[in-house]
Amino acid sequence: MTGRASTAPGRRVKRALGQAWERLSQGESGSLPVVLGLVLLWAVFQGLNGNFFSPRNLSNLSVDIVGTGLIAVGIVFVLLIGEIDLSVGSVSALAAAVFAVLNVNEGLPEWLALVIAVLAGALIGALHGFFFARFGVPAFVVTLAGLLAWNGLTLYLLGQSGTINLDDQGLVAKLTSYYFHDIAAAYGLAALGAAVFFLAACRDRRRRKAAAMPYRPLREIAVRTGLIAAVAFAAAYVLNQFQGLPLALLIFVVLVAALDVLLRRTPYGRRVYALGGGVEAARRAGVRVAWVRVSVLTVSGTMAALGGLFLASRITSVGQPSTSGILVLNAIAAAVIGGTSLFGGHGRTWCAVLGMLVIQSISSGMALLSIQSALQFMITGGVLLAAVVLDSVSRRSQKSRGRA
């Protein structure tokens, strides 16, 4: 899609790389600086404690990002339309509580309780969306009210029983504790990812060529596929060193990829971006703004519920929610650090993954070094800032671009 056809193969690659860099640095998918920041972060932690790069730690990391990561993916949707959802923390806690109460206390089968919990999240999201889209109450306020109200409901649900232990052999517990021990699983996933990318790119190239439109040279496609494959296989290798591919990671990657396709390859996704680029313009183009708004908040509620179940799965118990906004802040921070714009219209689901990696790496590194909490706060803040400054500065050093 990027490159335009040219003649000499050498120049072609050079130009393709140049254009890729330009694309990257133009912010739409400007994740390169964050990746660099992440690598730097890892290097520092590994230098301070040799266990950081141990397969065990990296495997844990890959599972730990999933819960909050799913929530952050939902937040990406909301940020894309230029709004914010403060309720995700409460909704995730509520979904976990609903599941625990239905399954453990009321004895419903796990799958049914799980479906109801996720549906509850979706419903709540839709409710927020309704108030937002129908009455024009700012999403910030609606979801702030939601934050309080759903917190109260969760307290009420758990009021009788207090903390509830989940069945540690059950479906939900398995979400984060199951690993595909067969090494073929991890390698297979890596191979599949690279193959899908390669085939999609080739198909696009073929169609463009047929339509006599500029197309991406084969060599460039090969280079990109190679890069993706290298990263994927390296990750698979590390995971196989510990317990194999975690189910949680598989679900996360598949969901993120699916939602990425939804956002960037379907009419629905196009409308989400359009809303972020100008509500009035989108409205005049016939986009049903209210409907898109409701749907986006529904997605965010659903993802929050899913994320809540993963978070509960990780500690196989569901307790009273803390009123702290830490979870919300982490989710929003992940999306923003990954490159999603707070002002709407720019970002991808993969941003959430990248951002979560940064955040969880910091927190895991801190735990590894057992830093005291006072210092821990300061360091987390400092590292966060450093990562984003790096990102912003490298974007800045590109030409500043105004508007005609």
């Binding site: 696009d204 463009r208 009419p267 359009a274 680029g277 100008g278 009035e280 989108a282 005049r284 005609a404």
Partner: protein, 257 residues
Amino acid sequence: MSDPPLLALRGVSKRFGAVHALDDVELEIHTGEVVALLGDNGAGKSTLVKVIAGVDPADRGVMEWDGRAVQVKRPHDAQALGIATVYQDLALCENLDVVGNVFLGREVRRVGILDEVEMERRTLGLLAALSIRVPDVRLPVATLSGGQRQTVAISRSLLGEPRLLLLDEPTASLGVEQTAQVLDLVERLRDRGLGVLLISHNMGDVKAVADHAAVLRLGRNNGFFDVTTTSQEQIISSITGATSHARRPPRTGEAGP
């Protein structure tokens, strides 16, 4: 000609706070006819366009489509009738690329997935027809020049099969050649049986393509002219208010090319 007009407005009024932007306005557009909507700055032309397009519905008044009264409350309704619009402020999504903007709301899909190749191909075709160079149809429109943006907006309006085209100063920032292309296009569309409402401050352009000219002044009708038989001075004096024409556009039956 006894056909009902494609679009007829009867007694349309609209207020913004203390400002009467439209006051009991009447207008008719027939198929195969180009009506120029003229008026001074702030006369209410864009407001009228937004009323017709459903962006900002009128406070009072009736809108008839093919002779039947219709309710246009949302842009969607107008599109469903076959009304396509180029707004004065263009209304493009800054973050989407040219292709995305042209096809917004009318994406081409293959098994539910966007067919980017097809959309890009058709976009290139539309832009070529308007003889404007856009450096890359995959750049966000925020980076385009004023004229390039205007062309994107015009291309947008040609998608689908509109029956009525509302053009609010479509050539304001176009070059000489591009302006000629757009005027050409308007004539071709008229010949294909579309109705066109053209807003312009350029008398030359109006003379060149319009059949009739409706003049607004301070939100009221201030004359309806047959462009071929009326002198430019007469129209201008009606615009600037040197003469006051209480005359309204003729009702169906009187009018016609």
